[in-house]
């Protein structure tokens, strides 16, 4: 009854999976050391992150597939779903064991599961592309708060980098307490104790906002309601595209 424990990082997980391949055992679970609980009979193995092992796993994955598998594993990691570590292990085993490009086989349960998770992540990324609402600060930084179901902040940066290349912006994940910040040159992550986050959209006193911010918000809200065609009101469809849990940071809905 082996349980493998890793440090909670992507690198740590891949190193652990490398170790599992070396040990030739099938663990009953792989868990993050930050929230782990063990039974009395469990045998615990802790594995440290190791850069060369990570690279070997990622390289091997892409060798055995059309080059999509490594990114897919990263997305599964970001999903934070229950027992995602085991889903990743099963997926990697399946890919490594196949000679042809098995990613095209939707009838394989482990591949299907990986692609199902990828689809969920893809939907969340798509929603975050649409649901980010920036507010301009006095310093001219466009700031937004999000609380996505999955940890998609690492996946949405490139979209906003391309779209808003000439404005500094900051997107804060209020659930996971970190942010993505673009300063007109590079995009980087900010941890929760970063001084830049002291002024943030989480504050509601309005002191940090650009003087015209409130005006544009009002204009947007009235535009949003004015374009609605009463005869075509379809609340069910509306909720499917814009579920209620996302309304909190949508200026037009809260």
């Amino acid at each position: 009854m082996t349980i493998y424990v890793y440090d909670g990082s992507f690198e740590g997980l891949l190193s652990t999976i490398f170790q599992i391949f070396t040990d030739k055992v099938l663990p009953i679970n792989i868990i993050d050391e930050r929230h782990c609980q063990f039974g009395l009979l469990d045998e615990i193995r802790r594995v440290d992150a190791d850069e060369t092992r990570v690279e070997r796993v990622l390289y091997g994955l892409n060798q055995c597939s059309d080059g999509r598998a490594a990114l897919l594993v990263y997305k599964m990691f970001l999903s934070e779903l229950p027992r995602f570590e085991m889903a990743i292990l099963c997926f990697i085993k399946t890919v490594m064991a196949s000679h042809e490009n098995i990613l095209g086989n939707y009838a394989n349960p482990h591949i299907a599961e990986a692609l199902r998770i990828e689809k969920m992540i893809g939907r969340e990324v798509h929603r975050m592309h649409a649901f980010v609402r920036f507010q301009k600060s006095v310093e001219g930084i466009f700031q937004a708060a999000i609380n996505p179901d999955f940890n998609v902040l690492p996946l949405i940066g490139s979209h906003f980098e391309k779209r808003y290349a000439d404005q500094p912006w900051l997107i804060l994940d209020t659930l996971r307490h970190y942010a993505l910040y673009y300063d007109l040159k590079t995009t980087r992550f900010l941890e929760s104790d970063d001084p830049l986050l002291a002024i943030s959209p989480a504050r509601h006193d309005g002191q940090w906002q650009d003087e015209k911010e409130d005006l544009y918000q009002q204009l947007w809200v009235s535009y949003f309601h004015a374009v609605n065609i009463q005869e075509r009101r379809n609340p069910k469809l509306h909720l499917r595209h814009m579920p209620r849990r996302y309304w909190r940071y949508l200026i037009e809905k809260c």
Binding site: Y106, A107, A130, Q135, F142, R163, Y164, Q167, Y216
Partner: protein, 341 residues
């Protein structure tokens, strides 16, 4: 009907106001881009020039790279349409009424040649730019998102056969990217158009489904509507309707038949068909695999051959299949449907 004699309050923005609103909404990620239309001020060129000026200011002065969709005003000069094509992602001329005689009745000052002329001009210009592309590396983009138009369904007596043939023609000849269909909602009391309360949303949905069949499923318009069945069935979608009318085309063998034939099975969409064709290279597919792939098995099962399906002889009758599938669909409380429902 959009018509200048309609007694509704109208409002106008200045060019600068539209530009300021667009760029500020865009920077806050409220909007993807701009869809700009206008009633006719003074004349066609004056109006078109104002639309083009908005696009030019956004692109040149504000480096706006978002989406721009402009109305092409019928009767505007080719020079203005050409500049609009270089600035905008998409242009559209709305046909609104799907036949010339009906258009004459509702809006006597409008006619088909005026509407088709700018469409043809833009289609030719786009083709020229596309031809130049492989030869000249820095060929500018001309209407990268193509042209579109809108047809109103239910305001005039045209049947679905006429509407879909018109749409098919627009796709083939004018190379339109999209035709939009809009169930008629009356805005002014007028005895030249019929009085209806609720817009014909189910019919609108069926027409869209038929349009999808033409563009993504390899159906020809003659397979969707025929002189014997000129209107789409409101009870079942056009793909199921085709399958019920053509039982000799089925069952389709999931493990053997071409992609094109699999795509014709009710309950199998483009994505599922692609997944089936890709997966069957690795292994033989059974019914439970189809379920996992995303096929709507309760519909597809009557039209496919694959391990795991047991069909009794009585089930092959189109009338029986129709009744069974209708019984499966939960009664809808709302007349509205989703686009892919």
């Amino acid at each position: 009907m959009s018509r200048r004699s309609n007694d509704v309050r109208r409002a106008a923005f200045t060019v600068e106001e539209v530009v300021d609103l667009t760029i500020n909404f865009y920077r806050r990620n409220y909007i993807e881009g701009l869809f700009l239309s206008s009633g006719i001020f003074k004349n066609a060129d004056y109006t078109m020039e104002r639309l083009v000026r908005v696009a030019r200011m956004l692109r040149r002065e504000h480096n706006f790279n978002g989406y721009i969709h402009l109305k092409a005003i019928p009767g505007a000069s080719p020079e203005l349409l050409h500049e609009a094509g270089l600035l905008a992602d998409r242009l559209s001329v709305n046909i609104e009424i799907p036949s010339e005689p009906s258009l004459q009745k509702v809006a006597p000052e409008k006619n088909y040649p005026d509407i088709i002329k700018p469409m043809n001009y833009l289609a030719e210009e786009k083709a020229q730019y596309q031809d130049a592309k492989p030869k000249i590396r820095k060929t500018p983009l001309f209407l990268p998102a193509g042209q579109s138009t809108q047809l109103i369904v239910g305001a005039s007596p045209e049947n679905d056969l006429q509407i879909l043939h018109l749409a098919d023609n627009l796709y083939q000849k004018q190379k339109l990217r999209r035709v939009y269909y809009s169930g008629y909602i009356p805005i002014a009391t007028d005895n030249r158009v019929p009085q209806v309360k609720a817009p014909p949303l189910v019919r609108e949905n069926r027409v869209y489904q038929a349009d999808w069949l033409m563009r993504f499923y390899g159906f020809s318009v003659g397979e969707i509507v025929t002189p014997q069945n000129p209107d789409l069935d409101l009870e079942v979608d056009p793909k199921l309707s085709y399958a019920l009318r053509n039982p000799q085309q089925f069952p389709v063998d999931i493990n053997r038949d071409d992609y094109e034939r699999i795509l014709r099975v009710p309950g199998i969409g483009v994505k599922s068909a692609q997944k089936i064709v890709s997966s069957r290279q690795h292994q033989r597919l059974r019914l439970d695999h189809l379920q996992a792939i995303g096929v709507v098995v309760k519909r597809a099962r009557y039209f496919i051959k694959c391990p795991g399906i047991a069909t009794s002889p009585g089930e092959q009758q189109p009338s029986v299949i129709r009744a069974r599938i209708l019984a499966l669909d939960t009664p809808r409380t709302s007349p509205q449907m989703s686009l892919f429902g």
